[in-house]
Structures are given as structure tokens and as C-alpha cells.
């Protein structure tokens, strides 16, 4: 049911964990199914220097979490803000239709973490 890329990210998730004293934190729950993701960012000179995630959710939720961390690593904040759930799903060679909502979790957590960073630095 899942693409090879999804299974790869599920089996070998990148950047699992939590950054201590993160510059931005995004904790979101998926309103559709109740799954949860926490994403932490370390930011320097507007650039994402490090990113980590923890996720309580299905295989697609874990894979999209992992993928979003890979996509934003090293990017500047504006670029990271442009990443949507579709970007993440596409990078994983697609998700089954019933699993598209899972990618919202990863995108929402990223945007929440960036928002948190901006609020802290204003």
C-alpha cells in the first residue's frame, strides 16, 4: 500500500528526537485521526541548522515527519515556509488517498515551529 520511499522513511526515519532548548517548537494534533507530532528547530541566521521530530501516528505520519525534516534541513526560513503537505507527499512518491491527511501533520508541525520561532524573536 505504501511506496518504497515511505517504507524507507518508516524503517529508517531521519532526525528522530528533540532538540534541547529549541529555537522553535511545533506540537500539533491531527484533527482527523488524533495523531500527534512534535517538531523542534534550531535556527541560526535565518537558516535551519538542525531539526528533529517525534511522532505518535501511523506509518504515513512517521514517514512524512521524517521526510519534512529532510526537506527543511539547511533551508532558510522562507524556503521552509513554502513547504506544504503536497510537497512532502510528492517527495515520498505519493501517499494512498486515505493517507493524504497524514501529511498535514508534518506540514502543520513545521509551520507551527516556524511561527513559534518568529514569535519568540519579535
Amino acid at each position: 500500500m505504501y511506496s518504497d520511499k515511505v517504507m524507507d522513511h518508516f524503517n529508517n526515519p531521519r532526525n528522530v528526537g528533540e532538540i534541547e532548548e529549541a529555537d522553535g517548537t511545533g506540537s500539533v494534533g491531527n484533527p482527523d485521526c488524533g495523531d500527534i507530532m512534535k517538531l523542534t528547530l534550531s535556527i541560526e541566521d535565518n537558516k535551519i541548522k538542525d531539526v528533529k521530530f517525534k511522532t505518535f501516528g501511523c506509518g504515513a505520519a512517521i514517514a512524512t515527519s521524517s521526510m519534512v525534516t529532510e526537506l527543511v534541513m539547511g533551508k532558510n526560513i522562507d524556503e521552509a515556509e513554502d513547504i506544504s503537505n503536497d510537497t512532502v507527499a510528492e517527495a515520498l512518491d505519493g501517499l494512498p488517498p486515505v493517507k493524504m491527511h497524514c501529511s498535514n501533520l508534518a506540514a502543520d508541525a513545521l509551520h507551527a515551529a516556524i511561527k513559534d520561532y518568529k514569535e519568540k524573536n519579535n
Binding site: Y2, M7, F10, N11, P13, V16, E18, E20, S27, G29, D32, C33, G34, D35, I36, M37, K38, F53, K54, T55, F56, G57, C58, G59, A60, A61, I62, V98, H101, C102
Partner: protein, 395 residues
């Protein structure tokens, strides 16, 4: 790596003996059992032989067996058929919150048709309260429909007592025995049950065949209208091969019941105890109630079921989950929610349902591979205690 199947409450493989018995009716004996000519004679006899076997299995007379296309259809026929037949007597039905959708959705439909339905609660061990049942009986109650055993937790309901209560109040009693059939003995001659559903594919016969026991004198309005099949109670040319398969499977179930029960009890206990010993922070759902000896439903705290299933699938192990993420509807299973479990615990539930071909070695393999899978998922979970600021689950 050998494939391991721990999902027998979802469906079972067709036994060789069953397959062999069916085969002639897919090949040379293709006639219509309703035909009076030569082509119909053998298939007709095969259907009636199968009816006798199912009747012997359930302790009833062959005329009390109606063949259907599934457990779902039998539930529909038993419930709707009875409700419409007794509409003039009353409009109230009693069931439970933990029935299979084949019963729940049928009851929901009847609510739209003007019937009133009471859905009994279960306690945290998945058990109903007979006091609640008695209190919910009204003068206009026409039907009680309570499952024999629950498909998700394996919890066995007190159908003897329920039958007695129903009889005292002259209320018809239907039970969905799809999961009980073949696992524990069912004897309609000693139970006060009027309608009882079974399904082929849960007892080593194929999918797409079921039966409904209808006690003599119980009137039903047909749900499927058509020819004179099944004594005018269910139209449609018989699924001869499927019916033969069901009959054979019932015969085998009767023959092997004691041996299989002992085997399943042993390996399922081994599985459950092995997991209890090796994995912390788990809950045995329905563990405090009498349960089918093949079913173990376990919630793993802090993690989600689909990801556990994917981890098991890497080892070619098949099981199922009550998680919202595997449900299609994105709702966690109604059964665990009715038991008062949090959405999080429903999310993390895995059902292992064992069958006759499972072995001790397979169970031991599961017990070895499961703990690291659970640990890995927990290490990724924001809910786990290792987390700096555990996130509070809200839904």
C-alpha cells in the same frame, strides 16, 4: 521467512478438506438445485446434506437453517426480518454498543424506519450488565440482539442468561455467533435463542456464505425478495459450492472442537503471557472477562497500532489494529471506546487472533520480534516519558 497469520477473526483459510468437498460443485455438478431434471438432483442433495451438517453443528433441525450470502446478510435478515414481522407488536429493540457493524448499522437503519433502539453499555472489561438489560425492557420491546462473542476483544457474552430473560418477557432473541462458531460449542437446543447468525469464512469455509438459524415458529419478513428458495425466506439461486463448504466446515468444527480448543488455549496464553512479560505499559483489553481462547487484544501505550502492524509485517506477521489510522473512517474502534478506553489506547491496540494451524514456534517468534518494534516506536513517540515535555493527548 515464513508467513505467520494471527488474524483469524478477520478471516480464515479454507481447509483442504473443505476445498475438496466444494470442488465438484464448481465443476461437473453445476446444475441448479431448483431444477427438477437430472442436472439439479446432485446439487440439490448437496445443499440439503450441508443443511443437515450445519443443523447438527448448531443442535437444531435442518428446516431451521437458512443459507445466506454472509454473516452480514444473516444479521440483516434476522434483525430487519424480525422487526418488520413484529412491527404491530412493538417498535423497541435492545442491542449493545459493541456489536459488529452488520448489527449496529442495521439497528441505526431501523431507527430511521421508526424503531427505537437501546444500545447497552459495556464496562471497562467489555462486559454488559444484565441488570441494565432487564431495566431497558419495555412492553413494546420485540427483539434483543446481543452477540455471542465480540470480534475485537473475544469477550463472551452471557447468552444463556440473556436468552432466559428474553423468553421470560416473550421477546425474540437474536445472537451474532459469527466469532463463537467453531471456537466454542453452540447448542441451540439448550439455549433460549430464536435467531443465530454464523458466517463461513470465520470457520475455515469460504467467504460469501453464511447461515441463519431461525427457531421453528419465528416469523421473518424476507429481506431479499425473489424465488421460492430457502422456503420463501431468502430468494436467490443457492451458492452450492459455498454452502457445501460451510456444511463441511461445520462437520469438521464439531469433530475437532475439543482438540483445537486445547491447542488454541495453550498457544494464545503463551502469546499473551509472553508479551506481558516482555513489554511494559500494556493493557489486555477484556482480560477480566471470559474470552474466546484464540483472541488477545492488547493496547500498547504511547504508540499507534498501524505502525506496529507495519513493523510486524516486516517479519511477515499479520495481525490487526483498532487504531483510527487503520479504520478508513479515522475513528478509533467503537468497541474499545465503549469500554471507556481513551482514544490513545484504542489507537495503540493490536488484536492477535490465532487459528488451528498456528504453532508454538510462531508464537515464540512473535514474542521475540515484538518488543524491539514497540521500543522503536516508543522512542519516536512524543507521548513517551523519555520525551522532554510529553505532549498531552487531546482529541
Amino acid at each position: 521467512m515464513d508467513k505467520i497469520y494471527f488474524d483469524h477473526n478477520a478471516t480464515t483459510p479454507v481447509l483442504d478438506e473443505v476445498f475438496d468437498a466444494m470442488l465438484p460443485y464448481l465443476k461437473e455438478e453445476w446444475g441448479n438445485p431448483s431444477s427438477i431434471h437430472w442436472a439439479g438432483r446432485v446439487p440439490k442433495k448437496a445443499v440439503e446434506d450441508a443443511r443437515e451438517k450445519v443443523a447438527a453443528f448448531l443442535g437444531c433441525s435442518p428446516v431451521e437453517i437458512i443459507f445466506t450470502s454472509s454473516g452480514t446478510e444473516s444479521d440483516n435478515l434476522g434483525i430487519k426480518g424480525l422487526a418488520y414481522a413484529k412491527k404491530k407488536k412493538g417498535n423497541h429493540i435492545i442491542t449493545t454498543k459493541v456489536e459488529h457493524p452488520a448489527v449496529l448499522k442495521t439497528c441505526k437503519y431501523l431507527e430511521k424506519e421508526g424503531f427505537e433502539v437501546t444500545y447497552l453499555n459495556v464496562d471497562e472489561e467489555g462486559m454488559i450488565d444484565l441488570g441494565d438489560l432487564k431495566e431497558s425492557i419495555r412492553p413494546e420491546t420485540i427483539l434483543i440482539t446481543v452477540m455471542y462473542a465480540n470480534n475485537e476483544t473475544g469477550v463472551i457474552f452471557p447468552v444463556e442468561e440473556i436468552g432466559r430473560i428474553a423468553k421470560e418477557h416473550k421477546i425474540t432473541f437474536h445472537t451474532d455467533a459469527v466469532q463463537a462458531a467453531g471456537k466454542i460449542p453452540i447448542d441451540t437446543s439448550s439455549l433460549d435463542v430464536d435467531l443465530l447468525t454464523i458466517s463461513g469464512h470465520k470457520l475455515y469455509a469460504p467467504k460469501g456464505v453464511g447461515a441463519l438459524f431461525v427457531r421453528r415458529g419465528t416469523r421473518l419478513v424476507p429481506v431479499i425478495h425473489g424465488g421460492h428458495h430457502e422456503r420463501n425466506r431468502r430468494g436467490g439461486t443457492e451458492n452450492v459450492a459455498g454452502i457445501v463448504g460451510l456444511g463441511t466446515a461445520c462437520e469438521i468444527a464439531t469433530r475437532d472442537m475439543e482438540k483445537e480448543r486445547a491447542h488454541l488455549e495453550k498457544i494464545t496464553k503463551r502469546l499473551e503471557n509472553g508479551i506481558i512479560e516482555r513489554v511494559p505499559d500494556i493493557h489486555i483489553n477484556g482480560g477480566g472477562s471470559p474470552r474466546l481462547m484464540n483472541t488477545s487484544n492488547i493496547s500498547f501505550e504511547f504508540i499507534e497500532g498501524e505502525s506496529i502492524l507495519l513493523g510486524l509485517d516486516m517479519h511477515q506477521i499479520a495481525a490487526s489494529s483498532g487504531s483510527a489510522c487503520t479504520s478508513g473512517s479515522l475513528e478509533p474502534t467503537h468497541v474499545l471506546l465503549a469500554m471507556g478506553k481513551t482514544a490513545e489506547l484504542s489507537h495503540g491496540s493490536i488484536r492477535f487472533s490465532l487459528g488451528r494451524t498456528n504453532t508454538v514456534d510462531e508464537v515464540d517468534l512473535l514474542i521475540d520480534v515484538l518488543p524491539p518494534i514497540v521500543e522503536r516506536m516508543r522512542s519516536m513517540s512524543p507521548l513517551y516519558a523519555g520525551s522532554n515535555e510529553p505532549v498531552v493527548f487531546k482529541r
